[in-house]
């Protein structure tokens, strides 16, 4: 009788030990996903150098007075964040360093755009615009010297 109970207890233990992992494996795999779009900001000065270490303040569309997230640009002037997709609208991201900086407005939701930005001209555009203003100055100077003569 004694030995019979011992065998039963041992078998029971064995079953429990074997059964535990089997029990865990019995569940299927469940993977859920929600797509979230991360937004990468690249901030540079107009001289082309990155705004490394610049402070970034992100404002959600529902509250434009309290920062939703704050952070710092890396050495390449990059900053990445994932906006809360439950808050569609225009997200404002301010990048600022030593009084330099700007705000970029990023639409999140249905009218989302892949890329955008503010500022930035090509060298030819800059040269042309500068030339126009210089010519304006020279023209003014010529006009007023002619009158004087």
């Amino acid at each position: 009788m004694d030995s019979k109970w011992k065998v039963i207890i041992c078998l029971a233990f064995l079953l429990i030990i074997l059964g535990l992992p089997m029990h865990a494996h019995a569940h299927g795999v469940r993977i859920e996903y929600t797509s979230s779009m991360a937004i990468e900001i690249v901030a540079k000065y107009d001289s082309g150098e990155p705004m490394s270490g610049a402070q970034v303040v992100v404002y959600a569309p529902d509250d434009l007075s309290t920062p939703w997230l704050t952070g710092v640009c890396d050495d390449e002037g990059r900053f990445t964040f994932t906006p809360d997709s439950s808050k569609p609208g225009t997200w404002d991201v301010q990048v600022r360093q030593a009084g330099h900086g700007g705000i970029v407005h990023i639409p999140v939701g249905e009218d989302m755009v892949v890329s955008g930005g503010i500022g930035g001209y090509s060298v030819i555009q800059i040269v042309l615009m500068a030339a126009c203003v210089i010519w304006g100055g020279v023209g003014t100077a010529l006009y007023f010297s002619r009158r004087r003569a």
Binding site: Y45, D46, S47, E49, S52, G53, A54, Q55, V57, P67, T70, V72, Q94, R96, Q97, A98, G99, H100, G101, G102, I103, I118, G119, Y121, I126, M129, A130, V133, I134, G136, G137, V138, T140, A141, L142, F144, S145, R147, R148
Partner: protein
């Protein structure tokens, strides 16, 4: 040195516009007292264009870079025309290159134009100290050096007193001081440049310099 839109509170930008209006009125009033107020317009137009272009010339001062301002030179050559010329230059910089901004046009004009006017007064002291080449060079250097120097101090004070609560004030303060220190070499460069220009003009066309 140009403060863009969205950095300063409205009260400061409005104050900047008020001060700019007052200084412009004073400058125009002084210009009208001249015998021929139109005489210096060609010079002012050319130097306004030079001021406009100067901001595109970047000088790397690690870890940042600064650009020429030339407000000392404008003060030395234009006198009371300096402030209106800088105001016009700043307007075009803001409109065309988004360098600075339209809301901050007033405060930027104060930051760069007011020192130009002060440099004109400094350079005029040459009339007392003597008009030799050495004195012209010395006062030219003082004007160029001081033009950027006073501007940087004004910028420093305005930025330090207007750090928004959302930012890490310590980090921003460090960044502001770094930017200020980066302007020290520029002060020397502009001082030397203005001194050379003043000596050159004194030799070739002394009537271009103020107080001639």
């Amino acid at each position: 040195m140009h403060i863009p839109d969205g950095i300063l509170p409205i009260s400061v930008t409005a104050g900047g516009y008020a001060a700019t209006t007052a200084i412009t009125w004073y400058s125009v009033h002084k210009i009208n007292q001249k015998e021929n107020p139109r005489e210096d317009v060609p010079k002012a137009a050319l130097l306004a264009a030079a001021f406009f272009v100067a901001s595109l010339i970047h000088i790397p001062v690690p870890p940042t870079s600064v650009h020429l301002v030339l407000n000392g030179l404008l003060g030395v050559t234009l006198g009371y025309f300096a402030f209106p010329a800088i105001l016009i230059g700043l307007f075009f910089q803001a409109v065309m290159f988004q360098h600075g901004g339209l809301t901050t046009l007033g405060i930027n004009a104060v930051i760069m134009g007011l020192p130009a006017l002060l440099c004109f007064y400094i350079f005029r002291l040459r009339n007392i100290a003597g008009r030799g080449e050495r004195m012209t060079g010395a006062f030219g250097f003082l004007a160029g050096f001081g033009g950027v120097g006073i501007s940087v101090v004004l910028l420093l004070v305005i930025l330090l007193t207007n750090i928004p609560a959302d930012l890490d004030a310590g980090v921003e303060r460090t960044a502001i001081f770094t930017l200020t220190l980066a302007h020290v070499p520029l002060m020397a460069i502009e001082g030397a440049f203005t001194a050379l220009m003043a000596v050159f003009l004194q030799r070739v066309r002394p009537e271009i310099l103020v107080g001639a």
